[in-house]
Each structure stands twice: as structure tokens, then as C-alpha cells.
Amino acid sequence: MHMRNIFLMNLILAISWSALQESIDIATLTTGFVLGFLVLSVIYRGYAGTILGIFGYVLFMVWSIVVASVQVAGYVLSPDPKLDQGIVEIPLDVRSDLETAILASSITLTPGTISIHVGRNPEGQRVLYVHNLVMGDPSEVRRKIKHDFERRILRVTRGGVIA
């Protein structure tokens, strides 16, 4: 079954739990959701991994936003900001619109990088253009973004379709 349907079923289970408990508040709904999550992750292999992957991705984003903000604050406040700006192309492995949008938004949210455009490079490959405040080595930038962001997104979305 598709991951989205399993998630909907989890929501329905949470609402049923709340109906049987005869109370609708966040605590009851959360309890119902967690219980439904446990049951469904036993039934459908991969469901637990996907939901925990999304949760982990959010935590990872919060962490990297905080770390990178401190770095950018350092550049802004330093007496002589040494910027080394540049636009790097990142060849994309993500395919769907949703994956691309999440990747581009995550990159823009992380301070120090802005995704500017999705296009094709002269070789006809689908690429994302990322502007860096302090760049360094372009291939290092590519490796970092592919490893940090794209790999995590793909782990959640590609692990998505199960029997």
C-alpha cells in the first residue's frame, strides 16, 4: 500500500481512539496516533522508517539552521567580512516536483546558501543553482549538499513505496 494511505489510516485510527475515549484534545489524539503508529509499523514494513525519517529530517533541519545562522552572524559582524560568493550547480538525483521543492526550500532555509533556479546545464542534466555566501571549493559544496540534504530526502521518499 502507498505510504500516504497508511498515514491516512494512522490518522483515522487516532480519530477512532479519540472517539472511543470520548474526548477530543491534543493529548488523546497524540496517544491514538502513537498507538496506531506502533500497530501499523508492525503490519507494514518501512512505515516506521519513513515517519521516523521525516521526524529526523525536521530535527536535522532545525539543527543545521541554528548552526549556519551563527556562522552567517559571524560573517556579518566581523570587522572585515571576507565573502567569497558564487553560484554552484548541483546535479539533481531527485526527480519529482515535491522532492525538488523540499530540497530547494531546505537549501534556502539554511543560512549561507540560497537556491536560485532549477534548470539544465549544457550537458542537458537537471541541475539546481545554489548561491553561496562563502563558497570555497565548488566540488566540496556539491558533495556537502548532496550528502546532507538530498540523501536524507531520498531516503524518506524512495523508501516510500512498499508492498
Binding site: V72, A73, L83, T108, P111, I116, G119, L133, M135
Partner: protein, 112 residues
Amino acid sequence: MSLLEIFVVLLSAFGVFFMLVSAIGIVRLPDVFSRMHAGGKASTVGISAMLLAAGIYFFEEFLFYRTILLIALLFATLPIATSAMSRAAYRTGPVKRKHLNYDDMAKDAGDQ
């Protein structure tokens, strides 16, 4: 002061600090793109830290969830504005690119 109050004070100080950095950055940095970094990012962190601090200080179940929802919506919409404005800036003039040391986008093969 209780421990919670100290935490709230620290969190809002953190938020205000980043708003200040954002403002300073817009004045100090040299060109459109770097100002975009200062204006769009530091303020995301600043606003969310301040919202979170407010949600914890005036703790009340639904108020707190509303601040979380606000932060989520902020995170979903702010990067789109930043990206759109940066692309517009890139497309509208070579003068603004003089601070770029490296540019892969110059050889972009056009829209797909």
C-alpha cells in the same frame, strides 16, 4: 526567576540578536545576494525563536500549538520569496553579478 523564565529570556534574547544581525547585514553586505542572505535567513531564526519564547511564556495549550503552526508556515513560505527575489535579481542585470567569484549559472541551457 524560575528556570522556565530564564529559558524564555535566553530564547527571546537569541531571537532579538538574530533580528539585529539581519538588520546590520542588510546595511553592511555588498550586493543583492548577500543582503538576501542576511534579510531572509537571520530573520527566520529570529522570528521563530521569539514566537517560541512567547508560546512558552504565555503557555496555554492551543496558543502554543498556534505558535508552532506559525513557525511551520513561516518555514514553508519564506524560502520561496527569497529564491524568487534572488532569481529576479540575477536575471535583471549583469552589474549585480560583479561580486560573484564563481558562476555556474552563466552557462545555463535555458528553461526546461
